[in-house]
């Protein structure tokens, strides 16, 4: 099995199967992925509708201060990041990603019920924490399910389909919430009930129609092994595989030393530290453009719309051109977004340009990263590998927010953007060299 981002086969293909020279089978969307997408869509409507109205609810309705929520959320982001890898490991250990994902979805569902009763600072903080942790738990096993259900040749495209549906929910959630508030000025209770309903529909769809795919099952493994053998006979032998399957996978450093995944984790960490949260970018835009002030919440929706429109095309591109290349190209879009945001006032054009670039960045990196990580991870450690990549990205972004906050504090917004942009301009080519040889050979255990 050989995966590389370099143009080894006449500059056309870079995934395992394609490098064999056999034509890729036609794309066929797996119903499991479609349903996982629907589950995510319902869940995102649920979480984003609440997230959009929470500042107003806390300050305007309950009369609480928002300052402390920032602190709580910082802690949650760190906790949620760590939970990802743990949930991935638990999923691999049990071999049942659906069960672990379900636990995550159910925790968020319980948090939604909590919103109906929460009124004080600590109860809201607890509910918000439960929701975040739930999201942390479900992400890696869900992406492992997607990987297991997808055609390997069209892995990134399948992730793209999932992210498309996911982001329809993320874009629709705030709009649904604002329409409710438009009709009912203090209708926060209704927003919470609607949010709970969509969370329940998501969990019901997951329980009832998403197949309980097992990871590391022989039946699935064999097809891969045959292909792998066809490429590099002797690299991946059946007995070795059997032995590995029986052993409980543990989180070991050796895993991250696998030629492929380790490199991806390093590159993701470097790039993640230089990925400024979109909240900061929106604030910079707001300082320059009156439109961004008036339609502030639309910036977030706009970014999500671009993300969902580009998710499938970027996935297709990643399958044909190379996942690593698309992942890096996404960061080039982010880099362009920084410089555009830092440029002297460009009015509406600058704002819209930034949103398109930011949406393209997410489309090129979010699902593609999971697809890339799963491609670099042995099947029986799939969720751990995906979880590790997501943990690295999430933790490095938390670090990035802190560092960028300090930088903003010292040199001001625009210059801070330019500095991070310049560092990113160095990090992208460096990551190219790190990722150039990223591959999974199936040798390291």
């Amino acid at each position: 099995m050989y995966i590389s981002m370099s143009d080894r086969q006449g500059g056309r293909k870079s995934t395992v199967e394609e490098s064999q020279g056999t034509p890729a089978p036609p794309f066929r969307l797996s119903p499991a992925i479609l349903w996982l997408g629907v589950v995510s869509m319902a869940t995102d409507i649920s979480s984003e509708s609440v997230a959009a109205v929470l500042p107003l609810y806390i300050t305007g309705f309950l009369g609480l201060s928002v300052i402390a929520f920032g602190v709580i959320d910082g802690i949650n982001q760190g906790a949620s990041a760590l939970v990802r890898i743990a949930a991935g490991w638990a999923s691999d250990r049990a071999g049942r990603p659906k069960a672990v994902a379900m636990a995550g979805y159910c925790l968020s569902l319980v948090a939604r019920i909590g919103f109906l009763f929460a009124g004080g600072f600590w109860s809201i903080a607890a509910v918000v924490t439960g929701d975040r942790i739930g999201k942390g738990i479900r992400t890696a096993p869900r992406d492992a399910l997607i990987t297991t259900a997808a055609q390997p040749e069209h892995l990134a495209r399948h992730f793209g389909v999932h992210r498309l549906l996911d982001n329809i929910g993320a874009a629709a959630g705030p709009l649904i919430a604002f329409v409710i508030l438009m009709l009912m000025p203090n209708g926060y209770g209704t927003v919470f009930v609607v949010s709970l309903a969509f969370a329940a529909i998501g969990v019901a769809a997951l329980v009832l129609v998403v197949p309980d795919l097992r990871t590391g099952r022989p039946i699935r493994r064999q097809s891969r092994v045959k292909k792998a053998r066809a490429v590099e006979p002797g690299v991946l032998r059946e007995p070795a595989l059997e032995a590995r399957r029986r052993r409980i996978p543990a989180i070991r450093w050796s895993m991250f030393r696998e030629p492929g995944l380790g490199r991806l984790l390093v590159a993701s960490a470097v790039l993640g530290v230089l990925t400024v949260g979109d909240g900061f970018i929106y604030l910079v835009l707001q300082n320059k453009d009156q439109f961004a002030v008036q339609w502030f919440p639309l910036l977030y929706v706009g970014t999500n719309v671009v993300f969902l429109l580009l998710a499938v095309p970027m996935g297709r591109l990643a399958d044909t051109w190379g996942k690593g290349k698309v992942f890096l190209a996404g960061h080039v879009a982010l880099l362009a977004c920084y410089f555009l945001a830092a440029a002297p006032a460009m009015g509406l054009t600058g704002t819209l340009g930034c949103l398109v670039l930011l949406g393209a960045f997410y489309a090129a990196t979010d699902g593609v990263l999971s697809a890339f990580a799963s491609q670099l991870t042995p099947q029986h450690k799939l969720a751990t590998g995906i979880g590790a990549a997501q943990t690295v990205v999430a933790l490095s972004r938390v670090l990035s927010s802190t560092l960028f906050g300090v930088l903003w504090f010292v040199v001001g917004a625009s210059l801070a953007m330019v500095i991070v942009g310049c560092l990113l301009a160095v990090a992208v080519p460096a990551s190219y060299f790190i990722l150039r040889n990223a591959r999974y050979q199936g040798t390291a255990a």
């Binding site: 499991a32 997230a51 109205v53 929470l54 500042p55 107003l56 806390i58 300050t59 305007g60 309950l62 009369g63 201060s65 928002v66 300052i67 402390a68 929520f69 920032g70 709580i72 959320d73 910082g74 600072f121 600590w122 918000v128 297991t148 259900a149 055609q151 705030p174 709009l175 604002f178 409710i180 508030l181 438009m182 009912m184 203090n186 209704t190 309903a197 329940a200 529909i201 019901a204 769809a205 009832l208 197949p211 097992r214 039946i219 699935r220 909240g279 929106y282 604030l283 707001q286 009156q290 002030v293 339609w295 502030f296 919440p297 977030y300 929706v301 927010s401 906050g405 504090f409 917004a413």
Partner: protein, 347 residues
């Protein structure tokens, strides 16, 4: 693709999912319709307080301007009540405001504009509630004040990002010159001086402007940086903010100009606990007053001896009362005006 992935869920499961989705959506729809009807009924219901007619213009004489939070018609609207009889009938306008403050002949109104996206704006209204001037705000309305002659108005908003913690917390405070052609002053562009040194840190947060009576160029506000808080005295012409005291938030200058009432955080924990205190500007002595509850408001002076502030009503979210408190140690708070918020005294 393995046969496993192909295994379609059996028909029964589809039926159950369909039924569950239908029931959940129908239940939610029903809840929403009922909530909407309840709201229609309650907003069409007669106000739960006594209201006089003649809400079309601001009254003459001394009165209190406020945001009405009494359920029923007129919830959330700017209202007035004579200072001589605050428990009597109130006069309600049809102008919804989150915060109000008198400019003398008219008033400032910070409002949440609900729509496909929620926006926030500031408006200056005249004596018959006509809109004279309005502009967009960067976030959730928090404070507004006006200079005595109404030529300057200050607004503070929370900039929270799209969610509760997208980019941490910051405030945006702007002083707007009414009528004239001068551009608004964002206090972040002013030089912040602490002990003779300029603080250039970009994490400076500024909020809670109060104008000094009789001094058109001077105001006080709160400045914060790196976890420290100062009372600053500002000069509009020199574009400076000079720290004059520590730990003072949301200052409010007394009508005689000698003291500043403010809120001060007495908690070291994550959730702030604000007490009301008064600082004598000449001597620097400060007195914490006899209000034990957590007051998150910019205090208003009823007269030189009494303060007014809003407190959320226990167990009734969305409703609040205006309380009065003697501006000296040991005074006990008393309800001044029920179902009201954002008091502004018009003398």
């Amino acid at each position: 693709m393995s046969p496993e992935t192909e295994a379609a869920p059996n028909r029964m499961r589809w039926v159950i999912l369909l039924v569950v989705t239908g029931v959940v959506l129908a239940g939610t729809g029903l809840y929403a319709v009922m909530a909407f009807q309840r709201l229609q009924e309650s907003s069409a219901a007669l106000p739960s307080v006594i209201v006089t007619s003649g809400g079309g213009t601001l009254p003459d004489g001394q009165y209190l301007l406020f945001r009405n939070t009494a359920a029923g018609q007129g919830y959330g609207m700017a209202g007035t009540v004579p200072l001589a009889d605050p428990t009597g009938a109130r006069s309600l306008s049809t102008v919804p405001c989150d915060r109000v403050y008198s400019t003398g002949s008219g008033f400032m109104c910070l409002a949440t504009e609900r729509g496909m996206v929620t926006r926030f704006d500031a408006a200056l209204l005249g004596g018959s509630y006509q809109r004279l001037q309005d502009w967009s705000l960067k976030g959730i309305p928090s404070r507004t004040r006006s200079s005595g002659d109404g030529s300057l108005v200050a607004t503070t908003v929370f900039v929270t990002g799209h969610s509760y913690a997208a980019a941490g917390f910051s405030t945006d405070t702007v002083i707007t010159h009414v009528g004239g052609g001068m551009a608004p002053d964002n206090l972040e562009d002013f030089a912040l001086m602490v002990n003779g040194q300029q603080v250039t840190a970009a994490d400076r947060n500024l909020w809670g402007v109060t104008f000094v009576p009789g001094e058109p160029d001077a105001f006080y506000a709160t400045a914060a940086s790196s976890g420290r808080l100062w009372l600053v005295r500002g000069s509009i012409s020199r574009r400076t903010l000079t720290a004059v005291a520590d730990g003072v938030e949301c200052p409010s200058v007394s009508p005689d100009g000698t003291r500043v009432a403010f809120k001060t955080n007495v908690s070291s924990g994550l959730t702030p606990q604000w007490r009301v205190a008064v600082l004598d500007l000449a001597t620097g002595t400060r007195v914490t007053l006899g209000e034990e509850r957590n007051v998150d408001d910019q205090v208003e002076w009823l007269d030189d001896q009494t303060l007014l502030y809003g407190l959320p009503r226990e167990g009734e979210p969305g409703d609040s009362d205006v309380w009065s408190l003697p501006a000296k140690a040991g005074g006990a708070p008393a309800v001044f005006l029920e179902h009201a918020w954002s008091p502004s005294v018009v003398r």
